[in-house]
Symmetry: C2
């Protein structure tokens, strides 16, 4: 284990907010914002599972934070800080740690968060990382999955499926001349800061795939989501690859866009709140016949073999 203690402290202590007490105590001390509800979420990044061995450490760090920030976005919460656990195998050197800490620092600035504390350890073979994000929301304004109503419109932010195609491009099985898809896979953009309370009935972020994550809203709300596949927005780079990848775009995860379910009258308010971020209507909630029904533009059922990544 050698000088693990001083090595980690050197890179991580400068990232700590006052709550972290310089990372020199047993725990962080945090005074909650008056009157707010707190929102907690935890997510992992594991070598060989969530990232490819050899991926740039700064991007691993930033994606770890952003996956968690996306969960806060899905709850309508604003981020405050985080705890970090790192388990690093032998062979992780100073330059890896320095780049990892630099990635954390960059996104701390970008999203206005601080390191509150955590734990660092050795591991035997794989890099194993987790972060717990702490956010806040005004009481009663948290977005849930279970609020969808019959007749509500289903919207998505941004474009869907870029990360799935980007992963393929990184594996060398499809072209990505501009690097856009690869970047979307390595560095998602969590949709933090949208003032959605009072406009949407339900929300979730797309981590496991559009169909599966929309299915969570359907099940929690006891409804069926009907979507039209060709309405699901594709980026220019994804569209260029053709219809062949439709299923991958609909069922594979890692986009970290939001699915928003809103009453039909709220289209303008929703667009206004999202500003320059595109939101696209892809379907409607109705009484149930299974969680998600996908049709093409002529109304024929689209048969999807896979339904997204399976992990809680």
């Amino acid at each position: 284990m050698g000088d693990e203690f001083s090595r980690i402290a050197r890179y991580l202590a400068p990232l700590a907010g006052p709550e972290g007490l310089g990372l020199t105590d047993d725990a962080a001390l945090f005074t909650p914002p008056a009157g707010a509800q707190l929102v907690f979420t935890a997510d992992q990044m594991l070598e060989g599972i969530h990232f490819i061995p050899g991926d740039p450490p700064a991007l691993i760090a930033r994606k770890l934070l952003r996956r968690n920030l996306s969960d806060l976005a899905a709850m309508g919460a604003s981020p405050l800080g985080y705890l970090l656990t790192t388990a690093l195998p032998p062979g992780i050197d100073e330059s890896w740690l320095a780049a990892f800490a630099e990635g954390l620092a960059q996104d701390q600035t970008e999203f206005g968060i601080k390191l509150f504390g955590g734990d660092s350890s050795s591991s035997r073979t794989d890099i194993s990382l987790s972060a717990t994000l702490i956010g806040h929301v005004a009481p009663g304004e948290a977005l849930r999955r279970n609020g969808a109503k019959t007749g509500d419109d289903i919207w998505v932010t941004g474009t869907i499926g870029d990360a799935a195609l980007g992963l393929r491009a990184r594996q060398g099985t499809l072209p990505d001349p501009s690097g856009y898809l690869i970047n979307r896979s390595l560095l998602p953009s969590p949709r933090i800061g949208l003032k959605l309370a009072g406009i949407v009935h339900a929300a979730i972020d797309i981590s496991d795939g559009l169909i599966q994550d929309l299915g969570h809203i359907s099940r929690a709300s006891n409804l069926t989501a009907h979507i039209q596949a060709d309405l699901v927005p594709a980026s220019q780079d994804a569209a260029m690859l053709g219809a062949k990848y439709l299923e991958a775009r609909l069922t594979e995860g890692d986009d970290y866009e939001l699915i928003l379910v809103a009453p039909p009258g709220n289209a303008d308010r929703l667009a206004a709140v999202c500003g320059s971020l595109p939101v696209t209507r892809i379907g409607t909630m109705s009484e149930g016949e299974g969680p998600v029904v996908t049709r093409d533009r002529s109304g024929r059922l689209v048969n999807l073999k896979h339904f997204g990544w399976q992990h809680f």
Copy 2:
């Protein structure tokens, strides 16, 4: 990944408090106790590092919680709930998960905490676990490492070094006829619930070894800790093994007892607060010549080769 989602949800969802929203949303919603400060801490349990492959899953679960609870105890905080991340390799079966969840349930009851949320994933080879514990403390009552004063007494709770010897017994290198030492290694007793505010100047829990953890108080307080090795309390089972293991007892971790630094006049109040839990005076804080100076009963310096586990 198969039915990871439903499998984990089946075992973990019953452990969730109302804050966890049944583990069916993106994050937990938590209303902080009025007027309290919150205390956050995160710790890991990694296969081959913090536990031996094949260790009973219920005990791994309980030790994961207890290591974190001990950090709250060191801050003088009371526990409320936790987030859990699990990364499980192929081959972890239903019975492992069931026993792991049963261990969590048992210590949730014992310590009055609930599962708030988390994340479950696959891993490639090793089990990797983390927990973030959330506790609370009255404002101004948190115990820190940096409050020790010259002339303060140094106390420890319970007995020191049992876990280090228990680990050796589990590895077959020393006898443990009663199983007491092994139990202390597998299932520590975090010293939650002592009303130490106003009685002690500084506190820390012994996770990395008495000498190293006491050194953290010394450094944070800019003082030197002088301890007398033979005053460090040994359990009956540890004492039977003889003086040969003194260095292991002083420098190896995992005891999760507390080091408490208190003004000399506070011995009676400290004993009263600790009730049936023994507290033993092992030394004194004074002006500095290095973090920790260890002497035998005749005043000779005890030379320790190792200074405890090195990890932040």
